[in-house]
């Protein structure tokens, strides 16, 4: 098979990129020569395999996965509903929109510390994930609603579409692609902010807590292994979500 035809395969290209960056990592680790500062890919791989067999891994991953997923879903639902509300009511828009813009621009660390004052450390990651997700969904859903084809809405009015029929036949198909893209982006952000909240709030067991402990005990290989796990989980969940949404809204994409 020619190289060019091999390069046509996405998986092959991803494999090449992966090998390239692993090579760079290995060279840097050898150059530094201090595993405490930069462990080799092999050492991290071994730490990862060791982690996978422990009960702590299952408990921490389960907790983080559940908490962040609940936060993500709450953020998606809240953001989408607020988009409809602020679009439909100018008063609601005047009251809610500045708050959501403020949330979007405030550093996540400020929210985590504030949330720690008011909530238990186990609920903080969930709430932070929701707070980070909601403004993204709100903003893109509202824009999509506002950009809905007016000529189709007129057609719906002439043919006396019920509100539900208007949403299902006109709004939904036009909103769904933009909504899915925003939700996929927000999922990555939910993981980043959720894990950051765990690092600061220290619920036990949790992936963020284990990241912090690995740093505290100077077990850098484990710090890397937990980071790799977070990245893999975030990536897989995002792919799963996009796949599920494409299946659900296949006709609209």
């Amino acid at each position: 098979m020619k190289t060019s035809s091999l390069l046509d395969h996405k998986l092959f290209r991803a494999g090449i990129a992966c090998l390239f960056w692993l090579g760079v990592w290995q060279i840097l680790a050898s150059a530094v020569g201090i595993p405490l500062l930069l462990p080799s890919p092999l050492a991290v791989g071994q730490a990862l395999i060791h982690l996978l067999g422990t009960a702590d891994f299952r408990a921490a991953t389960g907790f983080s996965l559940l908490g962040i997923s609940i936060g993500f879903l709450a953020g998606v639902v809240a953001g989408s509903l607020l988009a409809w509300l602020t679009w439909a009511s100018r008063l609601a828009d005047a009251i809610i929109s500045p708050f959501l813009r403020l949330v979007r621009t405030t550093p996540v660390a400020s929210f985590i510390i504030l949330a720690l004052l008011w909530l238990s450390n186990r609920t903080v990651p969930m709430v932070i994930a929701a707070l980070m997700v909601a403004p993204i969904l709100w903003s893109s859903t509202k824009t999509a609603i506002e950009e809905t084809d007016q000529s189709l809405l007129e057609m719906g009015r002439v043919y006396r579409f019920s509100p539900w029929r208007t949403v299902r036949l006109i709004y939904l198909p036009q909103i769904l692609p933009q909504w899915t893209a925003a939700a996929a982006t927000a999922m990555g952000l939910a993981w980043k902010s959720g894990i950051a909240a765990e690092v600061i709030a220290q619920p036990s067991p949790a992936m963020g807590t284990n990241l912090f402990r690995a740093k505290l005990h100077l077990t850098t290989d484990q710090l890397f292994a937990w980071t790799v796990l977070v990245v893999i989980l975030s990536f897989l969940l995002e792919r799963l979500f996009v796949l599920a949404m494409h299946r659900l809204g296949r006709r609209y994409t």
């Binding site: 000529s151 007129e154 043919y159 006709r251």
Partner: protein
């Protein structure tokens, strides 16, 4: 009889209707023929309930008019059959295929607007209007993109429904095919120049 009495409407600086008065019979097809921008479409939009005049009264307004817009305005994510079924009650959704058959598109029921030619989309939009038509048809350039043979077939189909209609067209041949009453108009503001 639909009766416009001293109806006025202004879009920004443009006076589209100025004390406009006209009677439109509800037992025949009436065709408005005149230059672009004279306000013909505005008349249809008022009857469809999409525009409210600034002043004047309209009596005998149709309760549930069907409108064929100048553009097809088909739902892009739905098939030809689904586009027609969308304007029908659920219990009558099967009629969509009958209407597609009447406009010669029975084989294309499962295609989306993006997969249809301009003329085919026009026929789907016309079928949608005719399928919905209860008491009055508002047809804005109904035969755009159709060749003469198809125009004749579609005009015959419209006539066959027996529904009264207000049709905007630039073609005298189309008026003849529809067998409608000709109203020559000009403007803006819109006025009947020769009935």
């Amino acid at each position: 009889m639909i009766s416009f009495q001293t109806v006025s409407l202004r879009y920004g600086d443009k006076q589209v209707l100025d004390q406009f008065t006209l009677d439109i019979p509800t037992d025949q097809i009436t065709c408005l023929h005149g230059p672009s921008g004279s306000g013909k479409t505005t008349l249809l939009r008022i009857l469809a309930g999409l525009v409210t005049p600034d002043s004047g009264t309209i009596t005998g307004r149709p309760q549930k008019p069907a409108m064929l817009f100048q553009e097809d305005r088909l739902l892009p994510h739905f098939t030809a059959a689904e586009n027609i079924a969308a304007v029908l009650p659920k219990s009558q959704a099967a009629e969509a295929r009958i209407w597609l058959d009447r406009v010669g598109l029975a084989q294309d029921a499962a295609l989306h607007p993006g997969e249809l030619s301009g003329g085919m989309c026009r026929r789907v939009a016309l079928a949608r209007a005719l399928a919905y038509g209860r008491d009055f048809l508002l047809l804005d350039e109904p035969f755009t993109g159709l060749d003469m043979a198809l125009t004749e077939q579609m005009a015959a189909l419209i006539r066959k429904t027996g529904l009264p209609a207000l049709v905007v067209t630039h073609s005298l041949a189309e008026i003849e095919l529809l067998g409608g009453r000709l109203l020559a108009v000009d403007g803006p503001p819109l006025r009947v120049s020769n009935a």
